[in-house]
């Protein structure tokens, strides 16, 4: 494997890490209206991801940086081309960061409702839009001879892309429900299992159609293995949720997400942005990459720091491994609205 191929894998791994970890962060926010009927319950939901969501989000920032360093042409064409979708994602993420951090700072129902809205927008929008964007990458977009993407916004919402958006959203919602079940006890736990149960069949259907569509239209022979893994893991999710084994359900669901996003990257390879205008205008890992020296430097940096990052992020999950229940949520220590003191 050459260094360009290796860096394609690194980029894929960074996005896979981002979606597996932020997948349940998004899911938790998406399920606020369903599972968070009282303020205390919403706080239970929020605190299941409390210590880790910020670290999870850095996977995206680092994926962006790595894309810039390893495949500047890909970075430039994709981010300039997907301008408005990216703007939507950024706005949603901005709202989410502030809403999560500031929610408990003021003890007032209206304030908290607004923050909850920010958390929900910040979870739903990126989940859907990332799906639309990645499906478009695989399907191909219009790219001209100067490596400029010329697809209009309307082109980006074809049936395959919309199915991609639904797939991401459903997979993350289920991921969030199972994660909440895994991280809570008592009534929230029981309700999360019920929601997960209800989500399984629609998720199976949508993801099933999406992966088979992806495979038949864009897949390679060996990627049938990924399709099989996704479908098998989906059955595993259904079985383990029925059996109330949320730990296994979470593992299987993570495999589902790794599987179908892995399938998207595998279908792309060795292209990174196939062009629908003319095949030769498309970007591949060979015409979009940095120089061998930059790739070598980045390889050393990644080889040294990635294990350390994985180690301390893993440790964080270990430190906060206890389940949370409504009884453990302390009274709000936010300031009252409107009082001068």
């Amino acid at each position: 494997m050459g260094i360009q191929e290796a860096w394609f894998v690194v980029i894929a791994v960074l996005f896979l890490g981002y979606f597996v970890l932020e997948g349940f962060d998004f899911g938790v926010g998406m399920l606020f209206p369903v599972l968070g009927r009282t303020d205390t319950r919403r706080r239970v939901l929020l605190n299941t991801i409390g210590p880790v969501w910020d670290g999870n989000e850095v996977w995206l920032i680092t994926a962006g940086g790595a894309l810039f360093a390893a495949f500047p042409e890909w970075y430039a064409t994709m981010f300039a081309g997907f301008y408005l979708p990216l703007l939507l994602i950024l706005v949603a993420l901005i709202l989410r960061v502030c809403a999560i951090e500031w929610r408990g700072k003021i003890d007032d129902p209206t304030w908290r409702r607004r923050c909850d809205l920010g958390i929900m927008i910040g979870s739903w929008v990126p989940a859907i839009v990332w799906g639309v964007a990645f499906a478009n990458l695989v399907r191909g977009v219009a790219i001209d001879a100067d490596k400029q993407m010329t697809s209009s916004l309307f082109d980006l919402f074809g049936p395959y892309a919309l199915l991609g958006g639904m797939t991401f959203a459903l997979a993350f919602a289920l991921h969030g429900a199972v994660f909440i079940a895994l991280k809570t006890s008592g009534e929230v736990h029981a309700d999360a299992m019920k929601v997960a149960q209800r989500l399984t069949l629609p998720t199976l259907a949508v993801i099933g159609v999406f992966v088979i569509w992806t495979q038949t239209a864009y897949g390679k022979t060996w990627t049938w293995a990924l399709v099989a893994a996704v479908l098998a893991a989906l059955l595993g999710v259904i079985a383990t949720i029925r059996a109330n084994r949320e730990g296994w359900a979470f593992t299987f669901n993570a495999i589902v997400i790794l599987g179908f996003i892995g399938l998207l990257f595998a279908s792309l390879f060795p292209n990174v942005m196939p062009s629908t205008t003319a095949a030769e205008y498309g970007l591949t890992i060979y015409n979009a990459s940095s120089s061998p020296y930059t790739l070598k430097v980045m390889s050393w940096a990644a080889a040294f720091s990635a294990p350390v990052v994985l180690l301390y992020q893993g440790w964080t999950y270990w430190v906060f491994r206890q389940r949370i229940s409504t009884e453990q949520i302390p009274p709000s220590i936010g300031l009252k609205l409107g009082s001068g003191k």
């Binding site: 670290g55 810039f68 360093a69 960061v97 980045m298 940096a301 964080t316 453990q328 949520i329």
Partner: protein, 484 residues
């Protein structure tokens, strides 16, 4: 306006927003680490309360720093795709390193610090805030190294086949003399900001706290105020020194920027240092120098008081036109001239607070003077404004370049901003400009209100004693010591 101007406004607005919150984060993280260390070492409860009090302010600020930072990572590709293609090979590396080495560290360990009270052993918990402090400063280093490449490109060659700059030495990139001068200058500015913030809040609370029956607020805030004033003095010294080093580098490497900063229109030997000018600055000759000091500029440029030849804007313009082809190579003189003076002048606010504060708290005194309370509050915004002015000067002083040519480097590694911009329609970029400006403005108002409310509320009774929380029901599970 065309997409170029809108893109420039957008990058300027989003970056200035980001850099309102960043210096406070960079400076306050180590200060809070020091407060918590003081608590762990001395066991005195008031250090615990101060850690919690300033910790809350830190977190309110950190959120907006992160939120405004996310945009920056993507904006290069969105609005400056041609620039990204040209320098991605070089510029991407420090950006990726920043994510890999610094962002993961600060975000993960901040989560551990926020939620780890009474869960982690005391010393491990103390280590987490120190790691946050290291992380935020490390990220500053990488991003400043990236910016310094744009000011003074080194460690790269030009590949004529691809038409791109290519990295040849990561070591040269990370030890760029511009980066080695700009990083300590920015960090000193951040410490000045955080020092002024802590000293200002504590100074105001000392005066106000005396009216409270137990006067506890006053005695608690006195030690931290003096600590912060010490930080101001040291950071101030470092700012002057690193600023001088940076200035000398700029005279050598980016002469147009310094000539504009002085509105020095014509080449002169030993020109005077300009303190005040009047004029529209829309061209060189509309400026009249009112107050000038001899000798200073020569010293700033080369470290001696006479025999220094400095090039003027007009001569440099002619020189560049001959070298790089026809074009206007002059930055906006008005902005560079006044932002340079604002940067230096506004830092006086912090010094004034430190000097007055050290005097009124001398020999164990707790200040009661109303004027000192007001001075404390009035000083807080000054370093924020000085930071902004400094970056506006640095960035607008390199116009029209986005990658300024290095006089002793590879000549082809240069790019004007008009060559770097993406080919979007104005409407597209206006949409994002308006979106970001409106959202940031709204969030900045909330940020200010929250900070103000939490400063005015003072240290919480809730955090009076550093013990673990009791369960609501004695048989029930233990409550979380912190929950969103």
């Amino acid at each position: 306006m065309d997409a170029l101007d809108i893109s420039r406004w957008q990058f300027g607005i989003t970056t200035v927003y980001h850099f309102i919150f960043v210096p406070l984060t960079i400076g306050l993280a180590p200060l809070i680490a020091v407060m918590q260390t003081a608590w762990v070492v001395t066991g005195k409860d008031h250090w615990y309360r101060l850690t919690k009090f300033f910790g809350k302010l830190f977190l309110i600020n950190f959120a907006l720093g992160v939120a405004t930072g996310i945009v920056q990572e993507f904006q290069f590709g969105m609005n400056w795709s041609e620039y990204s293609r040209f320098v991605g090979d070089v510029f991407g590396a420090p950006l990726a390193l920043e994510g890999l080495v610094a962002f993961f560290l600060e975000s993960t360990f901040l989560g551990l610090w926020i939620f780890g009270w009474h869960r982690l052993p005391k010393l491990v918990h103390l280590a987490t805030i120190w790691l946050v402090a290291i992380g935020v400063n490390a990220s500053a280093y990488f991003i400043i190294a990236a910016n310094s490449f744009m000011q003074h490109p080194v460690g790269a060659r030009y590949n004529p086949e691809t038409g791109r700059a290519e990295l040849t030495s990561i070591w040269e990139l990370l030890t760029n003399n511009t980066a080695l001068a700009a990083f300590p200058h920015a960090v000193a500015g951040a410490f000045l900001t955080a020092g002024t913030f802590v000293a200002g809040v504590a100074g105001w609370w000392m005066v106000r706290g005396l009216k409270h029956p137990d006067g506890e607020g006053a005695t608690m805030f006195r030690p931290v105020a003096r600590l912060a004033m010490g930080v101001i003095v040291v950071a101030g010294g470092a700012l002057i020194y690193t600023g001088d080093v940076q200035g000398k580098l700029m005279f050598e490497q980016q002469p147009m920027k310094m000539a504009s900063a002085e509105s020095l229109c014509h080449s002169e030997t030993d020109p005077n240092f300009s303190v005040l000018t009047v004029g529209t600055h829309n061209n060189c000759d509309s400026v009249t120098h009112l107050i000038e000091v001899p000798g200073v500029l020569s010293w700033l440029a080369e470290g001696k008081f006479s025999g220094v030849d400095l090039k003027g804007v007009n001569e440099l313009q002619q020189e560049y036109s001959e070298k790089y082809g026809p074009g206007d190579y002059r930055p906006n003189l008005f902005v560079t001239y006044w932002s340079f003076r604002m940067m230096i002048g506004l830092s006086a606010g912090s010094f004034l607070l430190a000097l007055a504060g050290l005097w009124v708290t001398r020999g164990g005194r707790v200040p009661h003077q109303r004027w000192f309370g007001w001075l404390s509050l009035a000083a807080i915004p000054t370093p924020f404004l000085a930071n902004s002015a400094g970056w506006v000067f640095t960035e607008m002083g390199r116009q029209p370049w986005v990658v300024a040519p290095n006089p002793t480097g590879v000549d082809q590694i240069r790019l004007t901003v008009s060559q770097g911009v993406s080919g979007h329609s104005s409407a597209t970029v206006i949409a994002s400009l308006v979106t970001f400006t409106v959202i940031y403005a709204g969030l900045a108002v909330v940020w200010f209100t929250l900070i103000k409310r939490y400063v005015a509320a003072g240290p919480s009774e809730h955090d009076k004693h550093p013990g673990a929380p009791e369960p609501a029901d004695p048989d029930g599970p233990k409550q979380l010591s912190f929950a969103y």
